[in-house]
Amino acid sequence: MAAHYPALQVVLALLAAPVCLILRRPNAAWAVATVITWISLALALSLLGRVWETGVILYPMGDWAAPWGIEYQIDTVNAFMLVIVTLIGSVVMPFARASVEAEIEEERIYLFYCMYLLNLAGLLGIAITGDVFNLFVFLEISSLSSYVMISLGRDKRALTAAYRYLVMGTIGATFYLIGVGMMYMMTGTLNMADLATILPAVADSRTVMVALGFLTVGLGLKLALFPLHLWLPNAYAYAPSAVTVFLAATGTKVAVYAFIRIFFTVFGGVEIFTAGVIPEILAVLAALAMIGASAVAIYQTDVKRLLAYSSIAQIGYMVLGISMVTVTGLAGTIVHLFNHAIMKGGLFMAMGCILFKIGSVQLDQFEGLGKRMPVTMAAFVAGGFSLIGVPLTVGFVSKWYLVQAALEKGWWLAVAVILVSSLMAVIYIWRVVEVAYFRPPPKGSAEVSEAPLSMLVPLWILIGASYYFGIDATRTLDIAFAAAESLFGGPL
């Protein structure tokens, strides 16, 4: 049984999705989705434990031997990703019940859970597979389901946001597919480990160079790398809260993972990345994202959009870490994948609570919220500290390692960008804090009224986690460093 966990990890969620479709009843669908997510978390944790103890797990799908069959390859990096995705899912599900009821029409609620499970399966598939074409398939599963989830939002603008995401996401997926096709042309294989051994021999060809270009842009669109981020702000702002929490915490993270996997594993033996101009381009784009998106965030009046722009800036941190091509930098990126997932998830959950009670997340609606929703706003402030990178939070840990990596590399400008960007976070977080705590509540709404416990508890679990793993970061960092070292260890 335990030997088949890798397959179960993806298949369970995939099969549960149509079950939700058949059940149709919101509560039943919710129950199925929740139980499946929790089981997935248990599977992911056991896989991480096994990888930690015995090393890489290889699982040929349907017993078809690689490179002809599809092979799942699980090392520390993707085992950690599986944990991040399922962990966030497990906390989001209890939260989603009340939030979804308030934000999605009742006859469509089962659709949400169905799409959520498909999305989960897609993300887990991307993380677990060792086959570049299989990765494309899962990428499409997760993307298509997320378009649907976003369009479930009550706000009419959710439809245009989803449509825009659909167009740009499809371009991204197509670019990725073209890149894969070119690699297949040159090597005749789709298996990542195989590609890694064959590619160095043909790396000098223009086809491989172009393939790398297509892969970079394609995945860049998926992870919302500046300037390919245009789909993200509206998609996050107008999607139902539970969707925003889940996508913001996992969707772009998994895309970053795919990016790392392609560059460090598939192209691991090729000099193009390590010696070429690509790292510098990435570093510049990352820096622009960190400064530009933070600056835009400062001027947002919709707090959900504000957090969305902050996410683009945070993705800049991750790409910056990648662009350094050092163990410390990559470890900083990997630990930030986790850290940002929990803190941004928590912050978007706070938005969900406020939407639930106030019905809007426009900044001027925040007046007096410090008094009206003290528990939620306290969580927002605590999460905001983490975004700023105050010590004892996870944000501090990520920043520490990224700055350290930049210092080791002698990238002074990058150091300055990281620090300036974190100071800009002070400004956009504080704008919200001032409105919430210094302006009196509007008349007639002074009484304290909080979101239900089923939303507050998950919110505080994520916020608490962003302090727990900030106070004792040794565990996450051990994993991140092991993962980074294994990525530099060459092909699997």
Binding site: V403, Q404, V426, W430, I471, T474
Partner: protein, 506 residues
């Protein structure tokens, strides 16, 4: 009780107080009792630690590993002992004072006030006992964030703007410069522990060390070295007890304390002396001393004048540390204690003037000594100590700072200290003198006629020009204790001196 337990409790007790205070919010008397008990308990705990440190011990308490290879732990050395002793003792005095002040002033949100105050003290203890730079930085930021609600206490537009400046400068410098310096030190030295003789010797060349020292010195915004001093005058919108304990003692002293710690235990006096990169920071400190004193003379608002005076006095401490001579460092450490007692007395008096006579502007304080003789006398004593005249404790720290400049062979810096002392005389002493020897009728008419409150109080005073009207008794007790402290420190500066001597000649 073991010393280790006392150290942990000394940090924990104020935080526990911060939890208990909101629970007791329904009954103000109980709430204030919690504060007083915490303050007394804290001072007791610090006094338990003292004998060990005075005997040359360096008690250490390991807490937890935060990042791989980098732990959070406490270690009490003599300098931290001085800071902790001063802050914990003055917390008792301030708590007594606050009760009189906050009630006399009918302040709102008193529960939040006392709770944040307790957190700030806990953070100050954490800074005092920090065993490495990471631990110190954590509590440094806790101190910044916990004092923000105190600065913005009034919730008015002014308070909000002041809060923004406060947070902007303190977070900006610490996250922008100090954190960078810390991580850089970590990559160079592979440790952040406070070690005798420093950790950077041999690890950093002259240029790197110079940049690092600048990043630290300016990154420690709480030390208010110009040009990062604006937050301190802004913070004066806070209630007076906050200005007194936090912005004359705990917060600003945490800043200069950190500077001295960095100079002594991160760089090492000998290393800094050898590479000579601290010289230009001596100029910066000297400039701050003089400019801030000059600005202080132009301020009519008493608290603003005291704030600029504090900026100037803080740079004495920075200057002493940057001299990197034994006597200079001794002077720095002593000045942390001496200035604390003098300045807190002055702020207490300023607050007393405000609640008893409703006066905030110096130009309105002629003849105030007739109505408030006790407070004005205390103000005089505090002024003498800040100026550094006998028979006040302030003499000793200036004495050693002056010796330090001579030891460094910088005669002109001695000149700076002397000129600054004269400026201190010029901006502090006229206040008590005019208070005693002029009459209220000589006060110029109020310029701000739109301020009805103040005008009203002004006419009110004329009704009873000769009646004695002092601040509430609680305030007077606190004022008496701290001004007596200034005197006592003149006759018994030995504990402070001995502790500092242990640092330079272990």
């Amino acid at each position: 009780m073991t010393v280790e337990l006392a150290i942990i409790l000394a940090v924990a007790v104020p935080f526990a107080g911060a939890v208990l205070i909101p629970l007791a919010r329904a009954t103000p008397n109980l709430r204030e009792t919690v504060t007083l008990v915490c303050a007394a308990l804290l001072f007791y705990l610090v006094s338990v630690i003292y004998p060990t440190v005075a005997a040359g011990g360096v008690p250490e308490v390991y807490l937890f590993e935060m990042l791989p290879g980098l732990s959070v732990f406490f270690l009490v050395e003599p300098l931290g002992m001085i800071f902790a002793g001063v802050a914990s003792f003055l917390w008792i005095a301030t708590s007594v004072y606050s009760i009189g002040y906050m009630r006399g002033h009918n302040e709102e949100n008193q529960t939040r006030f006392y709770a944040c105050f307790a957190i700030a003290l806990g953070a100050a203890m954490g800074i005092a006992f920090a065993g490495n730079m990471l631990t110190l930085f954590i509590f440094y930021e806790v101190l910044t964030l916990s004092t923000f609600p105190l600065v913005a206490h009034a919730g008015t537009e002014d308070a909000k703007r002041a809060g923004r400046v406060y947070l902007g400068v303190l977070l900006g410098t610490s996250l922008g410069f100090q954190l960078l310096a810390i991580i850089w030190t970590w990559t160079l030295a592979g440790t952040l522990d406070f070690t005798d003789g420093g950790i950077l010797a041999g690890k950093a060349d002259g240029l790197t060390a110079g940049i690092l020292l600048a990043l630290y010195t300016f990154g420690i915004g709480k030390a208010a070295l110009m040009p990062f001093h604006r937050w301190l005058p802004s913070a004066m919108v806070a209630p007076t007890p906050v200005s007194a304990l936090l912005h004359a003692v705990a917060v600003v002293k945490a800043g200069v304390f950190t500077v001295v710690k960095v100079v002594v235990y991160i760089f090492g006096i000998d290393f800094l002396f050898d590479i000579g990169v601290s010289e230009w920071l001596q100029y910066m400190a000297a400039a701050t001393i003089l400019i801030a004193s000059l600005v202080a003379m132009t301020q009519d608002n008493l608290k603003a004048r005291l704030a600029y005076s504090t900026i100037s006095q803080l740079s004495y401490i920075i200057l002493g540390a940057m001299l990197v001579t034994d006597l200079g460092v001794i002077g720095s450490g002593m000045h942390i204690a001496m200035h604390a007692f003098g300045k807190i007395t002055l702020f207490f008096c300023a607050g007393a003037f405000m609640i008893a006579a409703h006066k905030t502007e110096i130009s309105q304080m002629r003849g105030i000594g007739r109505a408030m003789p006790f407070t004005t006398l205390a103000f005089f004593i505090g002024s003498l100590s800040v100026i550094g005249l006998p028979p006040m404790g302030g003499l000793w720290s200036k004495w050693y700072l002056a010796l330090g400049t001579l030891e460094a062979g910088k005669l002109w810096l001695l000149g700076v200290l002397m000129v600054s002392s004269l400026l201190n005389v010029a901006y502090l002493l006229p206040i008590p003198f005019r208070g005693f020897f002029s009459s209220p009728e000589e006060n110029p008419p109020l310029k701000s006629s739109h301020d009805h409150d103040r005008e009203h109080d002004h006419t009110h005073d004329h009704d009873r020009p000769n009646g004695i009207k002092e601040a509430p008794v609680a305030c007077l007790i606190a004022i008496g204790v701290t001004s007596a402290g200034c005197l006592v420190l003149f006759f018994y500066p030995d504990p402070v001196y001995e502790l500092m001597r242990m640092i330079v000649a272990p």
